[in-house]
Symmetry: C2
Subunit: 421 residues, 2 copies
Amino acid sequence: MKVDLSVRGMRDYFPEIYHRLSHIFRAWRETALTYGFEEFDGPVIETLELYKIKSGEEIVNQLYNFTDKGGRELALRPELTPTVARMISKIQNQVSKPIKWFSIPRCMRYEKPQKGRLREFFQFNVDIIGEGEGIADVEVMSVAIDSLRNLGLTERDFVVRINNRNFVSEYFNGLGFDKHKTGPLYKIIDNARKVSREVTSAALDELELSSGQRDAVRDYLSLNNSEDLKKLDSAIEGKESLLNVFSLMEAAGLKNYCEFDPTIVRGLDYYTGIVFELYDRSEKMRAICGGGRYNDLLREFSGVDVPACGFGMGDVVLGEILSAKGLIPAYKKCVDYFIVRVTDNEIDIMLKIAQSLRKRGMKVEFTYRWMPVKKQMAKASRVQAKKALILGVDEIAGGMVVEKDLAAGKEVKIPLNSLLE
Amino acid sequence: MKVDLSVRGMRDYFPEIYHRLSHIFRAWRETALTYGFEEFDGPVIETLELYKIKSGEEIVNQLYNFTDKGGRELALRPELTPTVARMISKIQNQVSKPIKWFSIPRCMRYEKPQKGRLREFFQFNVDIIGEGEGIADVEVMSVAIDSLRNLGLTERDFVVRINNRNFVSEYFNGLGFDKHKTGPLYKIIDNARKVSREVTSAALDELELSSGQRDAVRDYLSLNNSEDLKKLDSAIEGKESLLNVFSLMEAAGLKNYCEFDPTIVRGLDYYTGIVFELYDRSEKMRAICGGGRYNDLLREFSGVDVPACGFGMGDVVLGEILSAKGLIPAYKKCVDYFIVRVTDNEIDIMLKIAQSLRKRGMKVEFTYRWMPVKKQMAKASRVQAKKALILGVDEIAGGMVVEKDLAAGKEVKIPLNSLLE
C-alpha cells in the first residue's frame, strides 16, 4: 500500500509522542488531585442538540457532526463543558456541593489545522460547581498555575490575564450603547491585545460611537493593572470582586503570575463573572488556557441555579511551549533486567525468571529468538537496561546466574534462587 | 430542561465509575510495562477506507461512519489493529524489531447495546510486531493473564482457550471440503462452544458433508485437551506449534491458565497461527479477551511481510466480572488535610498553608465559604480527610495550629512554620 491513510489534523501518538502526552497528563492529574478534585469523563459522542443549547446553530460549523444509522443527530465533543452540564443535571440534587471535578477529555473540532491547533486534542478541564465567586475562582486559577509549575514553567514563562465580565458590562453600562453594538465592541476589545492601536481605532470607527462612548472605550483600554482599577469610580461593582481576587491570589503567593487585562472578555457568551487566559510571556503563541465563571449555563440544563467556574487547557500549545523550553524529559524505556541466554536451552528457566521478576514489578526483556550473546548484549544496551542477567550453562547447573550492571560494567554471580519466587 | 440528552450505548463516567476504569487501566498499563511494551495511541477518527482494507465492506454496518465537511469518508475506530497496521507501515523500515506496543484506546461501535457490550468502550491492546511464532505468542498471552492476575483474578476465575488456525486448516485439509463450505464450517465450530450438540449437528446437516467429512468434524470437536492433541497423526504441522506453546506456558508457570479448545477459531479472517480467547470459568459472560497471530495483515499496509501477534481486552465484560467478584476497591477521595478556620479572618493564612502543603504533593481541601466549625469538621469527615488543621485566632497569633487526626480523634499543636515552605 502506497497511500497514506492518515486523516488531516489527526496525530499518531508514537511511543515518544505518547510519552510527551503522558508527562503532561501526569502533571495535570497530580495537581488537580492535590486540590481535592475528582476525575471523571464523558463519552466522545454527544447529541448535536447538546451543543446547540449552549452555543446556538453556528457551533455546527466547527463540529464533527453526523447522523447515525438510527437517524440520531450526533456530534463529537469539541469541548467538555456541555457534557459537564448534562452530567451535573443528572445528579445535582443528590450530591453535596461544591462539586469539584476534573477531566482530561479527548476532543475533536472541525477546524483548519494550524500551529497550536489540531482537529484532535486533549484538554485539561477543571470545574467547581455549586459555589459562587471568591475563593472558588482563586482555587480554579491556582490549579491552572500549579499544573504549569509542576511542568517546570515559572512566573518568567507565563502569566494569567484576568478580567471580570460583570466589570466590563458595568463599566459600559449607562453610556447608552445600542444593544446590537455590545457584541462587536467586545470583539474589538478582545482583539485589541493582538492588533495595533490603528487597527483597533479603525474598527471602532466602524461602530459609529458617540464621542463620549469612544472616550470611555479608550479609557477602558488604558487600564493597565490592578492599581489603575483601584483608582476607578467605586460605583462599578464588578471592580471590588476583581480586586478581591487579586488580593486572594497574593495571599496564596501567586501574585506574580496574575495581571489585570481589560482585553480579556472571552468569546463565549456564557461567562458571567471572572474570565481569564494564560499566556506564554513571549506572546508568540495562542492562549495556553482559558476559563471563567459561568453561573447561568447550568440553569439551561438543570432548571435551577447552579453557579460554576472552570477552565480548559489544551495539550497542543502547551506541548509546543514545553518542547521549545526543553522541559519534556527524554524518552527512556527503563528496562530493569535484560535476560541473556548463552544457548537456546535456557528458555524454560529464562521464562521462569522473567515471570518472577515481573511479579515484583520489574521491567524485564529478552530476545524472542536466540542469537549470539554479543547481539543479545547489544539489544540490552539499546533498550538502556540497567542490568543484564546472563544465563550460562555451567552457572545454571551450579544454581548461579551472572548479573551485570550495564552502566558500571561490573559483574557479580548471584544465586538463581534469589531470582525465583 | 427535562429531556435526557444522553446518547444510547454511551456511558457517563462519574467519579466512582471513572475510579473503576482507572483501577483497570492501571493494572493493564503496569503489566504491559513489566514486559517492556511501549505505550502509544492513534486518533479516534480514521478513514473509512482503512477498515475496508482489512475487513471488507460488511464492517461498515458496525461502524460509526460519516462524511466530514471536506467530503472525506471517515469512521470512528471500532478497534485498534488497523491503526496499528497503518502506523507501523510508516516506521517499520526505521525501527529495530520486534516492536512491542500497547495501548488503551477508546473505541466506538455501532452495535446493539447489551450486557457486556456498549457503543463506547476501552480496549487494552498488546502487540508484538516483526516476530514470528513461538516465545512471542507466549509473551502476548502472558501479558493477558498477568494483567488479570494483577486485578486479583486467579486460575480459578478464568481460563485461556487456545487453538491454532494453521492446525485447524491442516486438520481439514485433504478431506475435500468445498472452498465455500470452509467459512460456514468454522462458524459452526466456533458456535459449538455455546450451543448444544443437537444444534451443532443440525447446522452440520445443512452443510451436506460426506460421511468422512462429518466424522472428521466430530473427531475434531472431541479433542478435549493437549493430551488428545499429542495422540493425533503427527503429520499435522500446526499441532507441533500448539504443543510448543503449551510447553512454554508451562515453563512460565502458567499451565493452569491454559487449555486447548478446538472451537476457538476467531471470526476475523486475518488470523494465521495461534488464536486464543480468555473466559470467565463460570462461562456466563462473553470472552474477556481475544487475540492471535496475524502474519499477513501488515503486508496489505506495508507491502512487506511483517509477522505479528496481539490481543484486545475490553473494559466492559472485565469490569462486570471484577465488580461481581468484589475486586474493585472502594472509591475514596483520600484527602490528606482539611483546613478548618475558626473565623473568616484566616483566609489568607489558610491559602498560604494550602499552597505549601499541595506543593509537597498533599491533598488539601477546605470550605470555600465560612461556616461554623462543626459544619467544617463534618465536611472533613465526609471527604474522609486524614487530618484536620484547625486555625484558631489565638493559636495563629502564637504561631501554632491544631492538627487533629480524624481517625484517632487526637489533637496536637504544631508550629505554623512547619506547614509553610
